[in-house]
Every structure is written in C-alpha cells, then in structure tokens.
Symmetry: D2
Subunit: 141 residues, 4 copies
C-alpha cells in the first residue's frame, strides 16, 4: 500500500457487506457514499463530540460527489481517509479517499459538503467551540 | 394472478430498486424485510394515524420471519398484502404475502411482531383508540 | 407542481421506504443516488433494451454528483426526471431532477456518468445501435 | 462480556453504518439480516471456499428468522457468532448470535436456512467435499 498517510488526517477501515455487491459482482457505486457518510459521522461523534440524538445542531448535506477509479468486491475491506478541504463559518467540505484494503489501490475519491443548522429552526449556525477545533485538526493545507 | 384479495385486507405495490439485486441477479432476501417494513409502516402512518416523528408510542419489533418461495429481479414490482394475524393487549403480529407484480406468483410470506411501548420509558402500553380500531379492520379470522 | 415536463424526457415515480429515513427523520442523502440509479437502469432495461444478466456490455459509473435543495420523508414518493446531458462515443452523462411527489417541490438535482465497456475485457466500447438511438431521444439540447 | 465463545464456533465483528439507524435512533431490524448474511457469506467464501462469481453451486435462502432482545445504535460494532444448527443432504441452517461490541449484551438471535442448488438448473445438489467438511467444524452438538 502506498504511503498516503499524509494526505488524510483520519483513517478508518470499513468492511463491505454481502448486499453491497450488485448484479455485476462489484460494490455498487451508491455504497461508496454510505461508506463516506459512515466515516464522517463516526468521526463527528467520536472525535468531535457531536450528539446525533439530542444535540441542538446538525450537519445538513447540501452536496456530495464521487469519482470512481477501480472496483471493489465483497468481502473486501475499504480503508477510508478523511480530511477537511474547506472550513467556512457554517459550512464544511469533507474529502475522502477510498482504498482497497487488500492491496491499497485507490478505488474512489469523493466529498460531502455540510451546512450546520439549528435543529429546531433549520437556520445556519456557526461551527464553533469543540467542533471547530476538531475540524481544524483535519484541515488540508 | 390468482384471486388472493380475500387473504389480505390491505394491498400495496412496491417497486424494486437496482441495488436490491445481489450478485446472483435476484432481489436479496434481506430486501423482503424492508418491503414488509415499508408496507407495515406506511399503513400505520396513512391508515392508522401513527405519528413517527412526535408520537408518544412506537412499535418495537421483537420478532420477524420470512419464507421464500420464488425469486424476483429488478425491475420487478412486488405486490404486498398485509393482515393482522394476532392482536394482543400491547402486541400485534403483521402477516404479509409478497407476489411478483408481473405474473402474480407468490414469492414469499413473512411476519413481524411489534410490541407498542412508551417512547420515553420503553415500557409496553396498550394498543387502543384509533390504532386498535384500524388494526381490527385488518384482523384475519 | 410546476410544469417541468419539458426539462426531462422520461419520468418515473419512486416511493420511499421506511429504512430510507435516517435518525434526523429525513430521507438520507445516500438514498438519492439509489433512486437515480434505479431510474437510469430501469430506463436502460425497459426503453433501451439493456440486458443486465447476459449482455456483452455494461455501463460502469465513473462519476456521480448530487445537490440537495429540500428534504423528503417516508412515506413521500419522489418523481424523478431523466435526461441525457452529454452523449460521447463510449460515455454518457445522465442528469436527474428529483421532485417531492406530494407538492412537486424540487428536492435534488444530480448526475451519473457511465462509460460503456465490454463485459469481459472491461475496455470501452462504442454506444451504438438501439442503445444510442434510445439515448438520443432523451438528449437535452 | 459473558463468555459465549463456546456457543458459536466462528466470530466476526461488523461495524454499523450511519444509514443503519432508523428514525427512532436505533439500528433498523432489517439490518440484522444484512449483518447475518454478511457473516455467513464471508465465512462461506473465506473458510469454506465458496466461489460466488464462478462457482457451479449457490446457497438459496428458503427461510430466515430473527428475535430481537435489545437495541444497538450507530456507531456501535456488533459481534456476530455463527454455528451450524442443522446440516442435511442439501440444506443447512446457520444460527447467529448478535452481541453489542461495547458491552457484550445479546441484542438478537437469528437463523438462515439455505438449500444448495446447481447454478444453472436450480436443482438441489448435495453439500459435499470441502464445503461439507468446513460446515461440520461449525456444527452445534
């Protein structure tokens, strides 16, 4: 596996599931978004202290994107690298690299843009405090 | 299609999705539970007035089961029949028949057992009022 | 509902499923890709004659993208419009508009880019014959 | 965590995904089947040598069942134990125990019954050779 550690500040390995494979025998391209979504939210909960059940702010996704390079197949595991490509007042762009666990080949690159809003009013709120501090540690220069 | 109208009091057609097919080219057996879950909850919301967002009681699934007879493949649609096989004080057993839309062949039969609980305490509460009245209309003799 | 018929040449209504809602009570943003994927493949199979089980060419997704405008919640239905934004020798860009069935509000716009390849060699092959003719009918000027 | 090692001969840890949580904030009951399906198939591929892409026999699911004891929530991991409860000529019953990774609490027990069939004719074939030998190592007395 190439040394891509420097490109992403957070790494998590996500195994594929039987149902991820589609009729062509490869992980369906929709699944890549679920893998990225999982890693982003797990990082938000574990590292950045986001409370998904009772918190007063949530991250609404306004845009997502993925470019596919190679295929993967169950039971492959996928190594997902995460970094913050842009950190605005209320918005953040998460960038992910997905690598096949068995041989380290890059299979896809994608991003999600979230706008943080008040859970009740759905109006944008500043990303501040512990959440912003955590995001700054993943900022990509 | 055989006349199975009398066996189930509520019918809904659910189209399959591309991702429902697995590597063997058929709708994966996990998906059947999602189809039944969808029809049960849609009936609860539309016909029985269940409020999934702010209601004070929810139906917790304690058991589910499915027997598979024939396969289906995207882009098949599935006709799902729903009836109530048992209605207790706090629990209810939903029974479903899944039929291939194109030729009416029975592909699977399954059931879900729900116990209704208070959303806050998670203690069982009686199924009463409008909810019970609606369920009685689907009771299978 | 606004008259958006002219923007897309093919329309299909896809119901949401119970499991599409995430913990925030809305259809999860990953699901939108599954809805677009479903409509694209159903159109390919039904209108353009693609054989997903035994055909000698398949469409590999090399890029996908979605912009989210409004939320939807189960049991909403989603009206999906499909057009072809670019048709190259071997590649095609499908563009989708997703509208809430109940009030016709635009909830998302997205696209998928497929490259058609030989099923065995995975080398690009020309989009020709019946497939190209069908795609030309959906071409957006 | 209680010592349940003796109850199941094969163990695998499956992380939950963001999308597994439903609107009530817990892993949706459909997902449990996907977790069991994943562990069964991963064991079949890695330990029992099943070829899902080009093999001449496949396991068709004819029945599945799950009883739910406790809830789990993303980002919990689930420890899944697998054993063979019944091994017939052509059929096999896989039994699973699902335990919450954080505290070892049993959240669900389920089973899948597969009938092995010829990939082309879909007629039952005997479970023999390496596959049977592998299954015998998981047999529950």
């Amino acid at each position: 596996m190439p040394d891509v550690t420097d490109d992403y500040g957070y790494w998590q390995t996500v195994p594929t599931r039987w149902k991820d494979n589609d009729v062509y025998g490869h992980v369906n391209t929709v699944v890549h978004y679920s893998l990225m979504d999982t890693v982003i939210n797990e990082w938000l909960i574990r590292a950045a202290g986001l409370d998904i059940h009772d918190g007063d702010r949530i991250g609404l996704c306004v845009q997502s994107h993925c470019e596919y390079k190679e295929s993967a197949s169950f039971p492959d595991t996928i190594r997902v690298g995460l970094r913050i490509g842009h950190l605005g007042t209320s918005s953040v762009r998460y960038e992910c690299g997905l690598y096949r666990g068995s041989d380290g080949v890059l299979i896809a690159e994608g991003h999600f843009t979230h706008v943080f809003v008040d859970n009740a009013t759905r109006r944008p709120v500043p990303i501040d405090g512990k959440l912003r501090a955590a995001m700054e540690t993943l900022a990509h220069p």
